[in-house]
Subunit: 678 residues, 2 copies
């Protein structure tokens, strides 16, 4: 029996691409430094070829070949004649001509600029380095436009270069492991928005994620079998390098080392039975800096790891040491007293000073979190700032190089707009030109307490594209509405790379609803978000590495579009009522009001969703109150006091969490209710 | 601006899971040998534990641990207390108790049976081997049911064992390469439906896909960089073995060897410039069996490859030799004459007889396609039959062991029902008991001319589950309607494993439509299928390895449910009209009639979809004619001759392909039209 809900109740879709023909020159993300458009159209057809001039290299040939396949997949045009772009492809009249001067080096500050110019017959990309040219190819793919005659590259003249040299994504593969294919598709996403540093957080209390041949107990007893082989690491580094992306490894010491201490407990400050930590949080286990055997161990470990990661930087973590295991251990306490150390932070500085020559010996530059910035630390380290902008400016004001992560914590489920306005060098910081130069850039941080391989893309994308733009584009590119317009388009472009940030939702909803019919669930999911900041994990007590992350709070995504747009519509309506806005608001409220009946039917077969029953009921009651309010506003009748009191009770109830999620349309409906009482 | 199509035009969803509470004992796939149900319910909650008795091994512990996580993910119940099932988990009162006698061997004919019994307090799985117990765990996951009190295992008593010992899936990773993660998720799918052989087709004219350390040119010049490292192969073999699945490698000789000959042209029959074949089909390049240096080469190659694949069998292909390069080469022709060989097949038999001792020396049993079955071939080989059931029965009647693939060619886009009724030992074959014993089983074959990593799951699943059932369950389990009912549920279970057979469609539709709104495209996609058998590739001339497989024919899937169900509804209606059926048919026809207007709007921004414009128009015209017919049937008025003629013209036009797809609702609408003329 076919049952159709079509005529009764349909699925809502936010249509972000208009009917009009789009010239994608105005949808680029990140926005180029300089962009001029013209009305010329360079047509793409089966004769389209890519040719390379100057001093191309293997990387450029591979990326140009990948460009051909992506262009073919996007347009459906058979470009079979050019299986690979090779040195023999040097026809000056090829539709896409790339001219590069030299191979770029994977190092901080390398020239990443490019020029891109289109006329009717040709696109020419000119760059000093192949890395610049690769950025140009990403821009060119974003430019693909269409009209009644098919696909074309629109006429543009672009000069583009990054504002900051360090544009990173921290991927935490320690708290929840991320398989190689997840890392690879996120590298593709990073390249698409011109990010250039993958910072891999490779160990923590929950596991050590890289095979060590020198200390094999690290993967044997401290990874649950979830680690990268050295071959995997080489593959990731090569894959990243192919896209012009550096890989900076982080091996956290001296705290957050439960995993290392599980494998090698002799380096712990306190003798205990160490086993992998299953919860997430800040714990006491810490290495013993007074143990002279620790330093040869660290030297061997960092030396082996350094050999896997060719980048000039290595991150030593250094964060969140509680100091308790130091303060409570007599021989360490004595050591501190003997060396005149006032507190455990002084001991950590001592530790860092011992570690620094080890890192230098491996040929690397040491970097770490805010905490390593203590009096006496040499100036050739780099500080990654997570504690706040003040700490960040303080570092550079004292002459240290720094990168910003505070404000880019994408695990905290805040909207893209929040991250977008977080400028690393705002005027308000009153930095000198010299100080500004010390600010290398920033990194979005994807901590993985609450994410798995299945959901991680949805926590990274598309929001990280807004951060990528902040770090690449001129500071003057800061219109939030336009950012969101382009972010919607960018999100589809990212999906073309295989990223699962949109696609994971339907399968997860089918699993949750235990049905192919996910409409009622989707109506709810589209107006909720997971609890923000660190609320979801109830003070680190609720979730462990073994918890199911396949529930309502996992299918809910950050920065939902519908509530954002609905809120804007309500604001517009309250500022200046119009029949069209009123109709829109009325229709959405009606959908939400009626959805609970359908959702209750879903719940019969889906006990896992019953934790969301309250959210769905509250949404219905709230929408119902909103409809009453709208009617009163329409009729220009003031509501009575009882109704208002009752409605505000509904509003308060609707702010309660359910299934570790919260409704995102409470504020705009509350505004309607209050307006109706005016 | 939010635009809502909700109130205008909704998305249709086939609701296959009813509202009623489902006891999943009746939805198992494959159906067990013996199943009794009772009304007991064994509740699943946070106290649920798995314990193991008898002689468990590392594989069983790992699979039991995976079971705990899957159960937690499916139900959302926190089972964090049991991170891993270990030897210490031996509590006889655990909710799930597994009792195994010994570790199973990964060999043909191993005991795979298990017993599963549920009462209110416990599920007990008893099996001779851990492989049987692992099958029992898959059954147990399928059994998970729910009611108003939450999740439970329903009361059952099951004894289960396979009908055939060889239940395989051939995955062709040569024509289009499939990355390791694609192979792994398909192994998970195989295990879920109790398949036990992954046959990897590892080389063909388009590429050699395994790293060879002895002959590194194979991957260097004959793989386009798309190959498995030896570590990858070990990983795949281990992953498969962990699920009780054998991996049988196929290295095709002497034809389909363009890739090998590209690397080592000295072994070719004809001197040419060999380069990787980009088209798909049957080609002349073939090894020279008269070259004595060929055999040491093959011995080294098969010996190296044998060391990577522990299974007892190795497949040597042997198919589709045109013989032309032999017949046309003087020294080979002379050799054939000197040895009294009448044709090239005799020379291939000579080649096989030379190869057989080489394969034996590696410790393996040789198998190959039908073509290797020639007079004089020794009886310890295994024939894989693709040419037809007669060839298959002929093999076993002459005393050869054989497995069936004819009728299981899932690349040919035929419905599950077609494969399901293809019994390897039907009564009509008149086989003796001894002959039946020679039939080891069967293999679904996923040839990859027309599939990529993105689409391959949708060509394998869920249809292969029907083949898995044919090979596992008693022959008497053969009700097609019930198979489809259970296949729908199984398909969702397969999706929980990460298989992309359903999930890939929405992202691909978004890419095609260049929009988040895919409704109009989906209406069309739900009633079309790719051209069947070998029609899509226009006699091997249309597609190459570089072609875009991201188009309408790629998002269209085999065996669409809606046309099948609609056709049944029309049949029922014509047999016995009812208002309800009439309303259903009317509603669908109305949807299809009206969709073209919406689809045309999609086309404005999506030139790639314009190849489907004709299909959409034809669907609209066809549905319009169907509505007319329905009206006449309703009014009991005969249509006039002109209308009939015109409508049948529409029907004929609607049978034309568009975008290498065809409409699947032409037959039922034609029936309505003809009925209206009666």
């Amino acid at each position: 029996m076919i049952r159709k809900s079509i005529l009764l109740f349909g699925l809502m879709v936010l249509v972000v691409m208009g009917d009009a023909q789009v010239n994608n020159a105005f949808s680029l993300m990140p926005v180029p430094s300089q962009l001029e458009t013209n009305s010329k159209k360079c047509r793409i057809n089966e004769g389209t070829r890519v040719a390379v001039k100057g001093h191309p290299d293997a990387r450029l040939f591979a990326e140009a070949s990948r460009f051909v396949r992506r262009l073919s997949n996007k347009t459906g045009i058979f470009l079979d004649k050019q299986g690979f772009v090779a040195a023999s492809d040097s026809n000056e009249h090829a539709l896409v001509l790339i001219n590069v001067q030299r191979q770029g080096n994977l190092k901080l500050g390398e020239d990443e600029s490019y020029n891109l110019a289109t006329n009717e017959n040709q696109v020419v990309i000119t760059a000093n380095t192949d890395i610049g040219a690769i950025h140009g190819l990403e821009t060119l793919l974003q430019l693909v436009s269409s009209d009644e005659n098919g696909y074309y590259f629109p006429g543009v003249t672009i000069f583009d270069e990054p504002r900051f040299a360090w544009r990173g994504l921290l991927l935490d593969v320690a708290l929840h492991f991320m398989p190689v294919d997840v890392v690879k598709r996120n590298l593709d996403g990073m390249a698409a928005v011109k990010m250039n540093v993958l910072h891999m957080h490779l160990c923590n209390d929950q596991g050590f994620r890289v095979e060590s041949k020198v200390f094999p107990r690290l993967q044997k007893v401290a990874s649950d079998g979830q680690y990268y082989t050295q071959e995997d690491i080489k593959e990731i580094v090569a894959y990243a390098g192919q896209r012009g992306i550096r890989v900076v490894p982080e091996f956290v010491v001296p705290a957050h080392t439960t995993a290392i201490l599980t494998a090698y407990p002799e380096f712990a400050s306190v003798k205990r039975d160490y086993t992998l930590q299953r919860y997430f949080g800040v714990f006491n286990p810490v290495m013993d800096p007074t143990n002279e055997k620790l330093y040869p161990f660290l030297e061997k470990l960092y030396t082996e790891m350094a050999s896997l990661f060719p980048d000039a930087y290595v991150h030593i973590g250094g964060d969140e040491n509680t100091g308790k295991d130091w303060e409570s251990t007599p021989h360490i306490k004595s050591f501190m007293q003997a060396h005149g150390m006032k507190n455990y932070m002084a001991l950590q500085t001592y530790f860092n000073q011992r570690l620094l020559p080890i890192i230098r010996k491996t040929g690397k530059i040491m970097m770490g979190w805010d905490e390593i910035f203590q009096p006496g630390v040499p100036k050739d380290i780099v500080i990654q700032s997570w504690r706040g902008n003040e700490a960040f400016y303080n570092s550079v004001k004292q002459g240290y190089k720094a990168i910003l992560s505070y404000g880019y914590y994408i695990d905290l489920i805040q909207p893209a707009s929040y991250h977008y306005v977080n400028d690393p060098t705002p005027d308000s910081a009153r930095l000198t030109g010299e100080q500004k130069k010390l600010i290398l850039g920033g990194e979005a941080t994807m901590w993985s307490e609450m994410v798995t391989a299945e959901t991680v893309d949805s926590r990274i994308w598309p929001r990280t594209a807004a951060i990528a733009e902040r770090l690449w584009s001129p500071a003057t590119v800061n219109n939030i509405d336009d950012m969101y317009r382009r972010l919607n388009i960018t999100s589809l472009n990212l999906e073309a790379l295989g990223l699962q940030h949109i696609a994971y939702k339907q399968p997860m909803m089918r699993q949750l609803a235990n049905s192919y019919d996910t409409k009622a669930l989707e109506v709810l999911v589209n107006v909720i978000e997971p609890l923000k900041i660190y609320e979801r994990n109830q003070g680190d007590t609720m979730y462990t590495v073994f918890s199911p992350f396949t529930k309502l709070a996992d299918v809910a995504t950050p920065d939902q579009e519908l509530p954002r747009v609905f809120n804007k519509q309500v604001d517009s309506f309250l500022a200046k009522p119009s029949p069209e806005l009123e109709k829109n608001i009325w229709e959405w409220l009606t959908v939400w009001k009626n959805n609970d009946v359908q959702f209750k039917i879903v719940l019969r077969n889906a006990p896992v969703l019953r934790e969301g029953a309250g959210l769905s009921e509250n949404l219905s009651l709230l929408a119902s109150a909103g409809l009453d309010a709208l009617q009163h506003i329409h009729d220009k009748q003031k509501v009575n006091a009882d109704w208002l009191k009752q409605s505000l009770t509904i509003v308060a109830a609707a702010r309660q969490q359910g299934g570790r999620c919260e409704l995102q349309v409470v504020d705009p409906i509350e505004k309607l209710i209050k307006q109706a009482a005016e």
